[in-house]
Every structure is written in structure tokens, then in C-alpha cells.
Symmetry: C2
Subunit: 445 residues, 2 copies
Amino acid sequence: MSRIDATHDPALASWVDSANAAGAEFPIQNLPFGRFRRAGSVEPLRIGVAIGDQVLDLREAREHGPWSEDIAELLLPLAQGDLNAFMARGKPARVALRAALSQALRDGSNAQSALTVCLVAQADAVMSTPCSVGDFTDFYTGIHHATAVGKLFRPDQPLMPNYKWLPIGYHGRSSSLRASGHGFVRPLGQTKSDAPEPQFGPSKRLDYELEVGALIAEGNPLGEPIAMAQAEDRWFGLVLLNDWSARDIQAWEYQPLGPFLAKNFATTLSPWVVTAEALAPFRAPFVRPAGDPQPLPYLDSAANRECGGIDITLEVWLQTQAMREQQQPAVRLMQSNFRDAYWTVAQLVAHHSSNGCNLQPGDLLGSGTQSGAAEGQGGSLLELTKGGKQPIALANGETRTFLEDGDTVILRGFCERAGQRRIGFGDCAATLLPAVTHPLSPVGS
Amino acid sequence: MSRIDATHDPALASWVDSANAAGAEFPIQNLPFGRFRRAGSVEPLRIGVAIGDQVLDLREAREHGPWSEDIAELLLPLAQGDLNAFMARGKPARVALRAALSQALRDGSNAQSALTVCLVAQADAVMSTPCSVGDFTDFYTGIHHATAVGKLFRPDQPLMPNYKWLPIGYHGRSSSLRASGHGFVRPLGQTKSDAPEPQFGPSKRLDYELEVGALIAEGNPLGEPIAMAQAEDRWFGLVLLNDWSARDIQAWEYQPLGPFLAKNFATTLSPWVVTAEALAPFRAPFVRPAGDPQPLPYLDSAANRECGGIDITLEVWLQTQAMREQQQPAVRLMQSNFRDAYWTVAQLVAHHSSNGCNLQPGDLLGSGTQSGAAEGQGGSLLELTKGGKQPIALANGETRTFLEDGDTVILRGFCERAGQRRIGFGDCAATLLPAVTHPLSPVGS
């Protein structure tokens, strides 16, 4: 588990003033990594670290900063734009670079003059996904979500018998992962109503899912599982993840092999990966409710029980096209906490590799929808509207059962604790665009 | 649809003698692509074309051969070891290079002396997967398999209502794809017997699945579906694929999101990708059985009905450790034909992208298990042994319900038609190694 060190000192301030503002997402205690290019540029993606409302360009920083030889070597793959290669270096590299960046960016650092020219305003940066994702796995750790959705289909047995014994997961699609800010078109697909034949056309039940994504640091060779004792150190950091879902396509296609076209048309990631180290002050006990089975030994460790959880407030916000046109801000639809996940990130890593499956640096593990226990804490519209039966009312008089064209959904996440600086994730936002016409094959082609 | 041209002439012979042998897998009419390095070498992978028992090294061939400027340009990514970049060039590039290679390798070619030094014996080449696979999707087009497996779980309704309306598919794992020849360890996992609690340990019901895999050529931008009229030209070629499956892990984990750890510990590919052009003489009508629904318009075209199918004989062979020790050859367990798939490759491409999901060059689409209609034509042990209840007898007196350590499973595939040269796929083989001990987390870690 990551230790608290000098980089976590809540009294630390940065010479980048905006990082010191109350409630800033990216204070010097955070230092998340992202990939960007300057607006209007077509050059290869660069790696940056967010600080206040700025990005420290690590390519420029490596050239201009006063780094030790060791740190300059760690910065090399980052200066080359390859976050995956840095991820593969594992936790010691991450901890060492964090200490050096914290030193260089803090008030009074002698690096200030050299690094000031390496800053890019976030407003001038176009962000990409934080790394190259080889394989994307989506889990189902939100027990309140699984229960609520299960009730819609199986009132008597909302949770499958396996749910409390193993982290349910399935493979997602990597090619359609996009960073916050990329709109996507409403998908077409087959759906089935009460009519005898299915139909093909735009999805009418388009939904979001509020998730957290973990990115893998060091991988494992094929055939060599990662034990719980190592699993905690094998994830690099977390992002927010919107697992857009077409409920009508899903209902028709998912038996017996699971969701496919209902999910793989787009998945949105927040652009900044908040490292395991930045999250260290916000760890929480992993406690199973009384009466629930304890994890089998390969999914259990004392450290995991002690602080396998992570206390992250999660929120979904919605700005409809009407709100945008009337210059009204987004409205918050719900709030939950990642602490309530039924399985910890370390357990996901250990389970995923328990059969010998090889995880690789940059691989993405989604948490599944993180709903809270209470009414109104659903992490998807499917839950908030009781399967589309009870529209929710928005502040401006509009209602929603599922998403409408022009809707922008924004996921937000942050860590807050008394005596700690707030650690933010940045927005994970995307706008639903109207469906395109399908290029049907001409007759006789 | 690929046209028959001079490269398909069954009378064509090569100056590489072994290509002309009766029943050779790789005659001059085939010309499949693969990635290899010379045995003992650690240099980057090279691209080669199989001809008889040799590999034409395309890096050497580009340097030494008498190519036109156009062909030399097409050979550039191949000389650099990047089959994906060549795949992205699409069908015109494939057709042009095939014509040039056919000219250069045929009897009497003036390229013989220059290219002879570019040959590597296949016995001296270590093969890799044919390309880099970004995303792997596995479909379920074998209706006889789906019916047989469905019967084990749902005697009354073996096929789900959606089966005949859309190609069922799910996402697989790319990181654990390996080329023929790579052994893999028996996976550990959670299984559930009649005991109240699940267990963790080596799978006891390990199985193979006989599949065909299609590799994507040109991709499509996110949000832009590929119509049936274009879909046939968007796949590069086919490989054999063994979708190893741990049935006991699968039975416990797969509800409600589909197979996960039961599949992702290993998937084996044949090393040579047989191009769509090489398969052109073996196309077959795509005919729906009387009474079955016709495909919806987005999955239909006249060309697909006319010749969307592909006539490929598929076989599973088994060599147990005892057979190997007694120097007995592998025995054939079954035979089926890819022509019987319920959906064509073009339909898989069109369906997969119908929601806007972006396919990328080198992406892999598995066909699902290709079983025949008759008893004894099951493409997995699950089918041949009726769910593990009726062991099959092997020629040497051994029996099998599921695989045992040391078993080598070999998939074979070939096209044969009167008046045509045989087109082979090469072996897709791998050996099951004993389970490793799981590194359980020490108490108190």
C-alpha cells in the first residue's frame, strides 16, 4: 500500500498559483499524468502532469529542468510520449518521480524559472486518453447497481449466486475508448419489441454508466498469476469512465454471451490518471457486510482488509442542449462513493490474473457502475428511472428517461478528507450526437 | 467478392519444388502471410510468404527481387515487419502484390536466382501470430455447436430467440493470443460443485474449440458503419483459432456477463493468414434453411447470398503424451466445414460495425466453434462427450472426457475442389502443460 510521505503534506504549496486555490482539482499533492497536444498542433502526443490550471510538458521539462541523472532517466519515456513504458517501470519509478516533481513544483523551488516555460495552459491543451490501452476489461463491482438492475429482470434473485464469491467481469472494446470531450453518435442496432420480428434503427434507450477505471502498471507474464500481496502495487492509477450503454440493443443481444454492440460504440475516459500515490491519504477499510462470505484466500490479504477501499466521491452531471442554449449550467443527477465497491482494485488484479491471463502496462480495468445504496443514487438512468418507467425531472422543467441528442453527460470524482488537500479527477464529459443514416447495401451489390 | 484471375490457375507451378507436391499446403496458388524470425535469432519479426516448405523472407525479397516501383512500395511495410500497415492498404494492394509474387515464384520466372537466397526453410523459422491484434471479438456462428451446447443447459430451448436474427458475439482477450506451438499452463480458477462454497484450483474440465478467425484489412472510423456492399472487401484473410475453454470455470462465472477467465488464459492462432484472394475458388452460396428468417437488410446482399460462404474442411486432431512417448501419430477426432457457419464473414464485419464500432487493421473476428450437424462432428470435447458424461475412446486405448496434461490439440483446415490446387492453413497446435501453483498471498501481507 502506498505510504504517506512528504509529497502528501497538505501544507505544501506550488509556485503555480492556481494549484493553491481552495478546491483546486490539481494541487501539488495530486500530480496526475495525461497525454496532450497543443491546440492546433498535429505533432505526436506529449505527456504532461496537471498542476492547477496548467500542464507541465514533460518533454520540455526533461530538457530544461534541473534533474538528477536518475530522474532524467525516468523522464526519458515520458519525454518520448510513451506513458505505457513509464507505467511498466512500476511503483518505485512512480514514487521517485513524484518526489522529484513535488520538489520542483513547490513554492521556493530553484526549478521555477526553468520550468515556467514548460507550462501549457490546460485551456490550450487538447487531451487524449492517458495511455495506449491494449485490453479493456469491465467488472461489475457496484453491488447496488447489480442489485437494482438484477431486480428489473429477476425480482426474486437480483444477484446471481456467484456475485459475492468472485468479481464478475467481461472483456470490453479498446478501439472505441475516447478521451473526455469527444462526442459520439447515437448507435444503430437491432432491437426487439413485442412485434414478432426485430427492428434495426437508432437506439431509443441510450444510457450512461458511472465507473472508475484502473490502469495497470507492471504486467505479468502469461501463465503467472499475480498474488494479492503484489496486486496492490500493480495498478498505476485511476480514471473516470463512462460506459455508454444502449439498453434496447443490450436486452436483445446479450444472451448468452454478454453485452457487445450495446457497449462498444464508445467509452469515455477522463484524460488525467490520478496515481495510486496521490490516493494514498484516502484509503478505506474493505469490509464485508455481516453474513456475506469472506473472500477466498487468493482474493484476500490483511492489507486489503485494512485499506483496500478508496474514498472517492463520484458524481453524474447532465447538461441538455436546452440548458446549453439558455446558458444554464449542468445539473447534478446523483452522488456515490467508490468506497462502496464490492471488490477492491487489488482483488480485480489478482482475480483477472489468477488463471494466468497476462495483464500489460496500460490495460484498463473498469469498476462497473458505482451506484449508492439509497434511492436516487443510481449510477445510470436505467436505475434512476426504474427501467425507463419513471422519468426524472430536471431543474429547467425538462424530463429524461434515457438520453436525448445533444445531452452532455459529465462524470466528476474527487477525494476530500479533513486535513487533506482535495484531489480531483477532472471532468469526464461527452455529448451524444444524432444517429447517422446506415449505409444499407444497395440491392444487387 | 474476389475474382478468379491468373494467380488461381491450377496448372501454375513454382520453381520452389516442394510447392508442387500433391497435397502441399502452400502451393503457388496460396501465398499466405506470416511473421517469423530465424530459429535462434532475437531480431525483430519479419514478414514472410509460405511457398511449399519454405518461407519467402519479404525483407530480403524486397532488396533482391526485380520489382516494379509500385510493388517495391507495397513491399515497404512488409519489409519493415509491419503486416498491419499492409493490411490497412486494403484489397487492391493485396491483389497487386499477389499477382507480382505469383509471377516471381512461378516456374521459369527470371526472379528465381535473385529470390532463391531469400528463402528460409519453414523448419528453421519460428512463427509468431500473423499480425498485431488490437481487438479480438469472438462470434458464435456455429449453429450446430450453439444448439448442442444449448441443449445441455436448456433442453427445451437450446437456441436463444436472437440467434437466427443477429450474429451473437462478445469481446475476447488480445494479450493472451499466441501462435501455434506455444504451450500453455492449465488455468486455475473458481469452480462450484454441489458443495455450498466454491473452490479455487486447477480447472478439471479443460476443452478446445475449433474456430476460424478473420483478420480485418481496412478499418472504419468510429461512428461510420461498414455496409454489406463493402464488408466482403474489409477482411484480409483467415486463420485457424483454438479458443481454449475451461468449462468448470465458465459454468460458475459466466452469468450474467458472459465468459471471462474461462477463455482468456490462452487462445492459439495458426501462423499463416490465408488471404481472401487465395480462398476465391472455394466460395459457396449462403443459404438459409427453409423456415429460418432471412437476414435483415443491413446483413443482406445478393453477393453474400450468392457466394458469402467459404468451403473449408476443418479438423481436430489429438496427440496425447502417451502417443508421443510411443511415437504414435495424432488421431483425428472430428471433421466439419466452415461452409455451415450460420453467418458469413461479411455479415460479421457489417454487424460488428453497424453501431459505429471502429474495426482496425489486424483486428480478429473469431467464428465460434464450427461443429457439423452429425453425431461425432462436435468441435469441442463438451459436445463429443455430451457434457463430459460419455468419454470418447482413442485408438491407443486411452479415453478422454476433457483434456489431460501433455495433450497436444492440432486444428487443421484446407480447401479442396475438383480441378483446384489444395489450399492449406498449416497446423494450429498447442500442448496443455500442468497447472502452476498459485502464489497465494502470505497472511499479514
